[in-house]
């Protein structure tokens, strides 16, 4: 098994003539919280989309624990252990909070169940439903959403919707969690809480986290290493403080 949980080799994609991402080499060790920053349109979310199988990379490839995942479908990649949240929240808005998490639990091997079993209400159906509900409740407890579990997901405030997205992604039991701007739309207190929550789930669920964020305090408070993207190319990579103080990075953000 490889030393790195996620390793990308010259990952790149072009849409027609536009090279959205070029030669991204990212290596993330197990248990790391890794940041990816960059100005708008730098290609951060495109990298996420490649890692989760939404886009097929045109160049390069990527490995999860040494296993090549390029070319697999979104479902397969999720089964292999990469889960993600979305920049523009994509909850199942007409379902209750707990059901959202239960959808995340759908593919866990302990909850496997034939559709005929459910259709004819065999005993296993009830057993599984109960177990899934308990499991989902536990996950919601981590995010302090347990009391909201019967509300519709679309009725939650923005910050809680973001937390619910993370809970739902966690339910798929990932090895690598991709968070796309988890703190966007949160107030300062919620952001501060989120820092603690991300650290806690990293430890409790034995996770590796890759996150995109514009909030530099959030990134500095969480990430040991970061990659800075600009116009699809890697501008800087390495220790968070070094990167943030890099004159090139400052220039890309502030201009000049």
């Amino acid at each position: 098994m490889s030393e790195y949980v996620l390793e990308t080799q010259n990952l790149g994609i072009s849409f027609g003539g536009l090279k959205a991402v070029q030669d991204a080499n990212i290596k993330i060790k197990k248990g790391q919280i890794y940041g990816m920053i960059g100005p708008n349109g730098a290609g951060k979310t495109t990298v996420f989309n490649m890692l989760t199988g939404v886009y097929l990379p045109t160049t390069g490839t990527f490995f999860l624990n040494g296993e090549e995942l390029k070319g697999k479908t979104q479902e397969q990649i999720n089964h292999k252990g990469i889960a993600r949240t979305f920049q523009n929240i994509r909850l199942f808005s007409n379902m209750s909070v707990i059901r959202n998490v239960m959808v995340g639990l759908h593919n866990q091997p302990q909850y496997k169940c034939n559709f005929l079993t459910s259709m004819f209400r065999l005993p296993r159906h009830f057993k599984i439903e109960k177990a899934m509900r308990e499991h989902a409740k536990e996950l919601l407890r981590v995010f302090d959403l347990e009391d909201e579990r019967n509300n519709l997901a679309c009725n939650l405030p923005y910050g809680k919707q973001r937390k619910l997205e993370i809970a739902r992604a966690l339910a798929t039991n990932p090895k690598l969690l991709l968070l796309d701007e988890p703190a966007a739309g949160m107030n300062p207190q919620e952001t501060a809480d989120l820092v603690q929550i991300v650290k806690k789930i990293r430890d409790d669920f034995d996770l590796t986290v890759l996150l995109i964020e514009h909030d530099m305090k959030f990134v500095a408070g969480l990430c040991e290493e970061i990659t800075v993207l600009n116009f699809g190319t890697v501008l800087a990579q390495g220790k968070t403080e070094d990167c943030l103080n890099d004159p090139e990075v400052v220039k890309a953000y502030i201009g000049g």
Binding site: L91, V103, S118
Partner: protein
């Protein structure tokens, strides 16, 4: 004794009888009809109307799986019914000729075979068609329905354009059989929707991209729902054949698919109970108009039918009539009657809330709080609500205008 007790508790634990209201209503309706038939005696037409209502309900519920829960528009439901009707009744005819099985067994075997054949058709059509989306899928399924109809029109073995004659099932018990099948179909559909598989299907409808990202096999579930819906449509086809006596391909035209879709839309997409009610009303309305407006009035039938549909749609969906709908909603009326007296405990707890909350906020701290300052190490800013900087102490402490209880 004790075993039975616990079992009953489990059945009625959450939601109580409300979970079973659909079954209770269907069974009660059937029971009333059976009693009426035994005492007063229903007419021949009434009994076939009941059977028609039952298979319309089956069609509406099964199409609701595709349209309401999966969120894909299918206009070929009559096509699946057509496959089921022709093949099922063909099997039934053959069985009647070849063996001496009782009629009930023949029909049940025919229904199972019809369902399986229709499900296979659903699979064959579903694999290519479900790669399409939205309008395009609707057109593809529409084309499928018409193709099936044309094939049966030209097959001599199925009677060609004249139609295929089958035996009408015993008029006295047909509607009972039809309703029992309906009960089974509703049972299967509701269970499927209220399980983890149903959740996956609804997740696909709500947000397909997120469903994929959660590792849900979207193709599998789309196909599954398509196949299950086709299976039930095939069964409805056999019931249709047993009611009508002669299967004609014109029946399964595009119009009929649309009629089923109208039932689903009127009843509310994603509501099985709604589909049942709408299917009953529309089928009955159709038959009523057919009987009342015959002869020279026949051309008016479609106009009246369309007008009634328009009125129903406007009444049930127009935003302008929302208040009116709510005022006649039985639930709301009940709530109004029971809530005439203001609940003392509620008021008191409300007051308690307002006594407590303002005192919790240190107003000077709020007004001086700089939200842009660092937060990771700073003490937590007080209160979750964002207080506008211009807010004065008085504004903050002013209690909310509590609405007077009506």
């Amino acid at each position: 004794m004790t075993m039975e007790g616990t079992k009953k508790k489990n059945l009625f634990a959450k939601g109580g009888w409300k979970n079973y209201i659909t079954y209770i209503v269907i069974i009660a309706f059937l029971a009333i009809m059976i009693i009426l038939n035994l005492t007063v005696g229903l007419g021949r037409g009434d009994k076939s109307t009941l059977a028609r209502i039952a298979f319309s309900c089956i069609l509406a519920v099964s199409l609701n799986l595709v349209v309401g829960f999966l969120g894909e528009l299918s206009l070929g439901h009559a096509g699946f019914m057509c496959v089921g009707a022709y093949l099922g009744c063909f099997v039934a005819n053959t069985l009647r000729d070849a063996t001496a099985l009782p009629e009930l067994v023949v029909v049940i075997i025919a229904m199972i075979i019809a369902g399986i054949v229709a499900a296979i058709m659903g699979f064959v059509i579903g694999v290519p068609a479900l790669r399409l989306r939205g309008d395009y899928l609707a057109i593809a399924t529409l084309a499928f329905g018409e193709i099936v109809r044309c094939i049966f029109k030209n097959l001599k073995i199925f009677g060609g354009a004249k139609g295929m004659s089958t035996k009408i099932y015993n008029n006295n018990t047909l509607f009972i059989l039809a309703f029992i099948v309906l009960l089974i179909v509703v049972f299967c559909c509701q269970n499927l929707i209220n399980s983890k598989h149903g959740r996956a299907v609804i997740a696909i409808r709500d947000n397909e991209i997120a469903a994929k990202a959660m590792g849900i096999n979207v193709t599998f579930y789309k196909l599954l729902i398509f196949i299950v819906a086709a299976f039930f449509a095939g069964i409805a086809g056999v019931l249709y054949g047993s009611t009508i006596g002669t299967i004609r391909q014109e029946t399964f035209s595009f119009n009929y698919s649309i009629e089923i879709l109208v039932m689903v839309v009127l009843g509310g997409m994603g509501s099985i109970n709604g589909s049942l009610v709408a299917a009953t009303i529309i089928t009955y309305l159709n038959i009523l108009l057919q009987n009342q407006l015959s002869g020279s009035l026949a051309p008016v039938k479609n106009i009246v039918y369309a007008l009634i549909l328009i009125v129903i749609v406007i009444f049930s969906n127009a935003p302008a009539l929302k208040n009116f709908r709510e005022s006649i909603n039985p639930k709301a009326i009940l709530a109004r009657i029971s809530k005439k007296k203001p609940d003392a405990s509620v008021t008191r707890s409300d007051e308690a809330k307002w006594d407590r909350i303002p005192t919790k906020i240190n107003i000077d701290e709020v007004l001086s709080a700089d939200t842009r300052s660092g937060y990771a190490d700073d003490p937590v800013p007080p209160g979750e609500d964002v207080v506008p900087m211009e807010a004065t102490k008085d504004e903050l402490y002013r209690p909310l205008d509590r609405k007077e209880e009506k």
